[in-house]
Amino acid sequence: MAEVDRRVLYWVMFIALAIPFINPLGLPVPITEMTKAVYDKVESLGPKNIALFSIAGGVSAWPEIAPSMVAVMRHLVKREVKIVVWGFFTDQDITVDMITSNVPELSTKYKYGEDWVYMGYLAGGETAVAALASDVHSVFKADKYGTPTEKLPLIQRVKSAKDVDLVLTVDTGSYITYYIRHWNVGKGTPVAEIGIAMQADQVVFYPANLVGLLIGVRGGAEYEKMIGRLGGGTITMDAINISHLLFIIVIALANIGYVMTRRKK
């Protein structure tokens, strides 16, 4: 019992993950404090405010972060907040396409250049984040589509970190720490994170003021519930429930097997 062929485990997991997509369970998703804090912050913003949506996560992490990205973007659009988008990943254009196709208001209700703007890709890691905090215009001369910044009224208003009311950093790595160091500690701009689950362990002991954190797909599902528009996160939550239950069961079985084989000896 203690030595099951691994492939049995893998097949069980593979099938178990498929079931909830075919036959949703729809267990309720309770709201956690970290997510509520991000929601409340966005809720407090309005048409006069500017939010920065920074993309530092690749397409390969979509299943974990896409639900939160879409839900937060929908909320921003609902509150009519002005949105500046830029990012640090080479495949981010595909991500921006995904967001705009899921949030059609960006092309209907919003006017590009005035209400939202996509500045494109930036290399340079922490140095770049620090530079942007003090002078956006010297880093970006034009947006992604080659329109010079002078012709983009929204980016004209964003000269440095001080002109931004909330940073939402989508992050699968260390960009949250860069934003905390240079935008929050340096300039006092509130920073919130859309992250992958493991970042929770590290962010909580980082000595800084974080507005809140959407922890992976769980955070996305909670956010969808709060904005009242269920989506990918909520659907995936069923798969999370099933798989996590499976982990608990398998760990329990492994221990029963372990204790029994030890008794025999």
């Binding site: 691994r6 890709y121 290399a123 140095t127 530079a131 002078d135 010297s138 970006f140 992604k144």
Partner: protein, 280 residues
Amino acid sequence: MTKATYSVGADFLAENLEEILLITTGRGFSFVVLVLSFIFFYIAIQLAKKGKAPKIRRMVAMDAIDEAVGRATEEGKPVHYSPGYAYMTLSSEQGPQTLASIGILSYVAGLCARFDVPIIYNTCIADSLPLVEETLRTAYRNEGKAEAFDPKCIRYQPGQSEYVSAVLGTFQRERPAVNMMIGGLYYEAVVIGEAANVIGATQIGGSANIHQMPFIIATCDYAMIGEEIFAGSAYVTKDPLVTSGIASGDWMKMLLIAITVLGAMLELSGVNVISQLLKW
């Protein structure tokens, strides 16, 4: 895919330096710590030269290398070695871990050369290739078997997941008896570790990346945690540097523990001199 249209230039940094530095004040004490690290290291070396080097505890994982290579010899199977993702370059903050890993590789390759065990090295770090090749070549030459070295044992893949897929394939096709993964590991730790368990390989793993420690411990027979991988190369070569490095590290830990205890007590009694010092 987009081109790197903009990046931050030197001229920009120079112009805005004061503002940037304003953000990063608070490095004063860090600098003191760094200088103290140098001083502690110097003292430890002087002590070692006088034969007063402190004893350190055994490193089980390093001692296990000989045994593992011995097992590969008996079974007539290769040894697999890989340094992890490490941001795919020596010029990142993961670079030192790759270097430490190559240091341990030079010992492992020597053993492999001595016992005529083939070694397979999979990597995705292109700029480490010259070092790896030279390390392996030298290890073979030092054993007097220069002609036995085949550079085709070094396999390169251009990215993290590519490297993972190649290692998975290598395991089933060439069935190494030993898998060693030491360096700046990321998600590959659990994948390679479990895939190596499937083929029953003896595993020695090590990394200073905290996020992979649970998985190295879970999958490997022998695990090197944190600073052990940095001490590894000097440990196997019986270099007095190792004790000096570890001893000076220990002093630094004790010093900072003392500061923590003192700081906590002062903070609790309302004196914030230590926290001000740390923020300096």
